[in-house]
Symmetry: C3
Subunit: 204 residues, 3 copies
């Protein structure tokens, strides 16, 4: 189940990051790097923190293959259709990204459950797995990571991961069941945040 | 002693980074992330370099709790007092940050002493521990890390860590005694640099 | 052979990054940090991914010594000669950097060959080893890493590493021989790219 979550997250996030690379006018190699870093980056940080060497994305050729396939698809589509962004309603891209966030966060929580960490660390690692790729992508694009100031994104992963830990540790729900529930919760929270433009308060 | 140093550094640096997040107008989650990354980031890089998995900040719930407490305190204070910066003399914040630098650098040196590294590596890891969190914070804020161009900050950590290595390896001072001396040296250097506006030379 | 490649890459890249730090008007410490991060950064990421702790650059004092020597040379030269850039044809600097790229990428490929990784991961790690330091340097300088949008740089490392993997796994060439061939291929590709101003296509 873990590998499936991880690979599904990789494909979704690679597609989303490749679109971002096209829109930011990176060259072909830059688009590929953005897609690779944005899709496997969160999982690589997770594996480095957990001490799994080499990270899954470097042991299993399917990660690189999926990132490459997603990038090739986006590039082909944007050559055929012109600028993809013109043809894609931005909301659809954001909802799609929310799916990647949910899959990656749950993969992170699921994996760190096997490492006997305390609940707070599981939540942090799940959030890092969910948002780490996007943060690396934004850092490589020399802009403030979206998750830090823009809208209700990482908070959805944090809330879902907390729900998962509570379900398992307090209510003794089975791990896979809790993962499914928490995954849908993250996706629902993120989609709701997009539809109603939720924002966290600023202090200034 | 190590855990105490590490936790004290975490609290001090989290407070300082949360203040920075408020002033940079990040949202609540962004402020929490800045405080967490800025306070435990240096120690996490240190543990990854030393091969300690998972890093201390992910094994011990007190790190996350302290970062959270510091952030909550800053947020509560800025809600009560209005913009904190208006009420806080900037020098006090900088001196406070110097304390965090000193605690974190010494924690890094103390820990790497147990790994039988050469002296140069101990000094580098101490400096990374001291400044790493601030560098990550600045990278996440999409600006050139302050330590690279602004003033006499990381150099204080470098000098103090060098002093510590020399005291232990050449003069056979006991590790804990040398750590206390070097810690005060870093804090004194940094405070002197603030008071007299020391700058390292530029070549242009 | 590996240590020689790694150390040669360190010296070349440290020189190049120290020049960059002088031109960007960083202070003395900032120049040293840029040179250190830019020269050993790619290898440190490689070692973290491969699970070698502490990374070679922290176990072997010669890395820090070479980075320091390169920085001191650049600083001395720029004090004696005035702004180095005035006296150095930019093309020479770029060709020199291509040498560092080639050495570092081959060091990365050579080392990951010992870890029984799949071919795609070897290529990725070689590319990360070759470009990682420069990416960290650019991130610390708060600009979009050159390799992502500017010209034919990382692609040379990627192509050379792919050649190396194919030579070894398909044509059973001996590892050291394949490394020499691939190293020259990377350097030749990069130099050709500079001479004829090759660029990868953009989609927009």
């Amino acid at each position: 189940m873990l590998a499936t979550l991880d690979l599904a997250a990789t494909f979704v996030l690679a597609t989303e990051c490749a679109l971002g690379g096209v829109q930011a006018d990176f060259d072909l190699f830059g688009i590929l790097v953005l897609a690779f870093v944005g899709s496997v980056g969160g999982g690589v940080i997770r594996d480095l923190l957990l001490g799994e060497h080499p990270p899954a994305a470097f042991r299993d050729w399917r990660y690189a293959a999926l990132a490459l396939a997603a990038t090739a698809t986006v590039i082909a589509a944007s050559l055929v259709l012109g600028r993809v962004s013109t043809f894609t309603p931005p909301l659809a891209v954001d909802v799609f990204e929310g799916m990647g966030l949910s899959l990656a966060a749950i993969a992170g929580a699921r994996k760190s459950l096997d490492y006997k960490l305390n609940g707070a660390s599981i939540v942090v690692i799940a959030t890092v797995n969910g948002c780490g790729g996007g943060i690396l992508r934004d850092v490589l694009s020399a802009r403030v990571p979206r998750v830090l100031h823009e809208d209700f994104y990482a908070t959805a992963a944090l809330a879902g991961a907390t729900l998962l830990v509570v379900l398992i540790q307090r209510f003794k729900v089975r791990k896979d069941g809790a993962a499914v529930i928490a995954g849908f919760a993250i996706f629902a929270l993120r989609t709701a945040a997009l539809l109603w433009a939720w924002r966290l308060p600023h202090l200034k």
